[in-house]
Symmetry: C2
Subunit: 314 residues, 2 copies
């Protein structure tokens, strides 16, 4: 099942069920995705049984599937990413024996196709291509062995970042506030069964194509996560319950073969340039720049649709 | 004006306006505090004009004034606190030229008087007595000189912490997830004018009494914040807009005269013990322990009412 959210003038939008071809939809029997997640076990089977999609989908009306969430927790579980980032940010944090994870702003997830306002072009504007999941309510203390049961939906995320602010904030030990404006989300949220064999051990076994100003910048594979999403859910829920609609991210998709596959953010490429040449040469984004992200299957299908966002002055 | 929220079976509760004596209330002309904050400039004057409080207040029915929020950002702006905490947590983070701030779980603020479930007694369970503010919508880039205009309400907060998890999470640079379960909030949220001369330069000029298992533990003064709440709002809003109902905390109230006034959390006292004796001697909380917190004015009034919470197994 693929779900999406139409802009109907409310903050949470209108939940819709999207046809296999992505061209038509049926209204969901519930107002919005947050409400659906709070009663997921009853509503999901009912929605999945939809077999008539009477309305044509106007993709320009799509918001993020979950336009705002009570909680956004972003991991960083692609090992090749972390090491390169430390070089760029000038930090040397400990690599702990647990998933790295920060809590970010969740009151806004930008629409898949939109202009994204940024405070200052000089702050090192960067995209980050990621995968994420959205949970049902998760009890405190849920072990990793049970945590997959609480994953309702899988999403594709652009975690906007301001790199000049990231290093100084990391050095405080308090994590990021200013370095992490709101994220964007791709058009469709999908159930695990929708991905079939491409959802393996709670990891997305598919490539994420990232296109910056029309040129392919990266095409990394999603599977080599050091921790699966079930383990990220369990980590997050160790000392708190997670409310329905908690969004958990993988961190920037990155592969050890980054010289072949490219990167899912600019900072990582700058890290590679530091390794190879002693200094970075790729600049961060400028106002007017666009980034497009599309996770794709071998047959060319885009399960999450696209993200295509343009940076503009606030 | 003092506002509170009654448990009516919904997640957001029912907003009420509380009489000067704190014994009676009038229902607010809006469903809940979140809705009020989204239309604050129209609703606040109307609510402040309430002169009849027909209902007797049953304080056992009070939830947190804002039982859940879209965003919780906690500062740490009492300088004497930070230095002692580094000794306890075994970290040496940089003290930056800006307010330290982390984003914490906001989908739950515990009721003022309740049992608080904790995952494990061995994790170093600790309270933190704080002040906080709740904002109207704040535009991105709002300067500190304008930020006081967006402070709708002042609150008193207990920021529950698990100290054994705090140091390892700080060392990642990503901030806290497991070390920071949900906070509690005192009974009443008050407008700045309600505090009169005790709200100075966006700082609460009053003492916060903290009582652990019936014995006074601390009575620190709220005013010596290195940054006022207007500066915390501006810091938070530099690269993001803040939605209505964003909660921003001061961090643990602490004074340089901590040997006389005591502390607002156990970890700080352990830091003092390390300074004085080379090792900590005060243990963290055990299941069944209670903590009571009450900010008080010279005439004995408690503007925010009380927090009185007991730690129990999850």
């Amino acid at each position: 099942m693929r779900l999406a959210t139409l802009d109907n003038g409310t903050k949470d939008g209108q939940l819709i069920i999207v046809s296999a071809g992505g061209t038509h939809y049926a209204p969901a029997p519930v107002a919005n995705l947050q409400a659906a997640l709070e009663d997921w076990d009853a509503l999901a089977p009912q929605m999945a049984a939809t077999d008539a999609f009477p309305h044509e989908l106007d993709s320009a009306r799509l918001l993020a599937p979950l336009p705002r969430a009570w909680q956004w927790l972003d991991g960083s579980v692609f090992p090749s990413h972390g090491a390169l980032m430390d070089k760029v940010l000038g930090v040397a944090p400990e690599k702990p024996p647990f998933p790295q994870m920060y809590q970010g702003v969740s009151d806004t997830f930008y629409a898949p196709v939109c202009d994204v306002p940024m405070a200052d072009e000089a702050l090192g504007i960067d995209f980050e291509g990621e995968f994420g999941i959205i949970t049902k309510p998760v009890p405190m203390g849920t072990p990793a062995s049970q945590a997959h049961k609480y994953i309702a939906l899988i999403v594709q995320i652009n975690d906007w970042s301001l790199r000049k602010l990231a290093g100084p904030e990391m050095k405080t030990g308090f994590g990021w506030i200013q370095a992490k404006p709101p994220c964007g989300m791709a058009q469709f949220a999908v159930t695990p069964d929708e991905l079939g064999a491409y959802w393996r051990n709670c990891r997305p076994a598919m490539h994420l194509r990232v296109i910056w100003n029309g040129t392919q910048f990266g095409n990394a594979f999603g599977e080599p996560m050091a921790y699966g999403f079930h383990e990220l859910v369990a980590h997050a829920a160790r000392t708190r319950h997670l409310v329905a609609g908690t969004v958990i991210g993988s961190g920037t998709v990155s592969n050890e073969t980054y010289r072949e596959v490219g990167s899912s953010c600019i900072a990582e490429r700058r890290g590679i340039e530091i390794v190879d040449h002693g200094a970075p040469s790729t600049e961060f984004m400028a106002y007017g720049d666009t980034v497009r992200m599309e996770a794709h299957l071998p047959d060319g299908r885009l399960p999450f649709g696209i993200i295509e966002q343009r940076v503009v002055p606030a």
